[in-house]
Symmetry: C2
Subunit: 205 residues, 2 copies
């Protein structure tokens, strides 16, 4: 039984060090809907087994012809045996299943995966300026031998590369989101509350 | 007497056809603070006379040396006799004066002008997808001989060129704003109300 049919599925993309993960978690708690982050999505995918059967699209709506093509692609796609591609395909399947009812999904190209599948969702981007992100990272992960600035740059690059690889799109175009929010300006708690108000406004349409 | 010292100065940048002008106006009404758009800013600048005396920075905080440099630049800068540059300089002066107390400023590179002057403000971007913008433009301005898509493209290009010319920055980087909002997703009225909630949240910090 779904108690919040009026809430949309929400994807949250975030910059490293913006606190977006924690804000997304707070938002899910405020809305009382499930929260999916990379860890959870990967756990579900693992528990389901990284098998071709699990990964393959087997929706009832899929035509026999499309299923044949799909099976062919699964068995012949170059790079499909690349562990990262297998993991991505399994995560995608978990995201599509999760999005059957209201939930909050963080990262993992959730925005793109749902758009491609034609599933309506509310897409949010959370960011902050470099100074705020550096302070957040230092507080959360502590100092290492690598300067904070370099850790920021490396992680930004890694996320952008990942997103671009799996979506074919550049990361960071505001037009991909319904709302983009500077969490450093508001602070994490008020950012979560503003998002809560945003989603409630949507739900009361 | 300023009745709303807790509200920030708010700049609203917007895409053509996003309804951002009308949303900004509603926001100013909700907050009960002054609203400045291109027309008003230009009227104030005109009424003040497009004179070098009006345009020159004459703040008391300006050192004599800086004032001399400023006067020199005003009298010698290439292109300063370009009417558009004179108008921009006069508009800038009006924006800086307006930003001495809480208000809503639409367009005219207000975000950049205030940042350069070190004046704290809340910067908002309003956009919408092309389909929503086309519908808005057709409803507001009617059809012309020029297809809607071309009118969108031309106006987008014109605004981007203007912004880039006077700020030296590319237009449309979400990092230049504290909040970016898809008005087509929420609808104009709810967009204004969400911004109202956002500003009130800030003010109650």
């Amino acid at each position: 039984m779904n108690h919040h049919p009026q809430y949309p599925v929400i994807t949250i993309s975030r910059e490293f060090g913006s606190g977006g993960h924690s804000i997304a978690q707070q938002l899910a708690q405020l809305l009382e809907i499930p929260f999916y982050d990379e860890n959870i999505i990967t756990q579900v995918a693992k528990a389901s087994g990284y098998t071709k059967e699990f990964i393959a699209e087997t929706g009832e709506s899929m035509s026999k012809a499309k299923r044949l093509v799909n099976d062919f692609l699964l068995s012949n796609a170059p790079g499909f045996d690349n562990p990262q591609d297998v993991i991505f395909a399994a995560q995608k399947k978990v995201i599509l299943a999760a999005a059957q009812s209201p939930c909050v999904i963080v990262g993992r190209c959730g925005d793109y995966i749902l758009k491609q599948a034609g599933i309506a969702a509310c897409h949010v981007l959370i960011y902050a300026d470099d100074q705020q992100r550096a302070a957040y990272i230092e507080k959360k992960y502590g100092q290492t031998d690598v300067p904070i600035e370099k850790r920021l740059r490396d992680k930004d690059k890694q996320r952008k590369t990942y997103y671009q690889h799996y979506t074919g799109q550049a990361w960071g175009n505001y037009r991909n989101y319904h709302l983009c929010l500077d969490s450093g300006y508001l602070g994490a708690q008020r950012a979560a509350q503003l998002l809560f108000a945003f989603i409630k406004t949507l739900a009361n349409a």
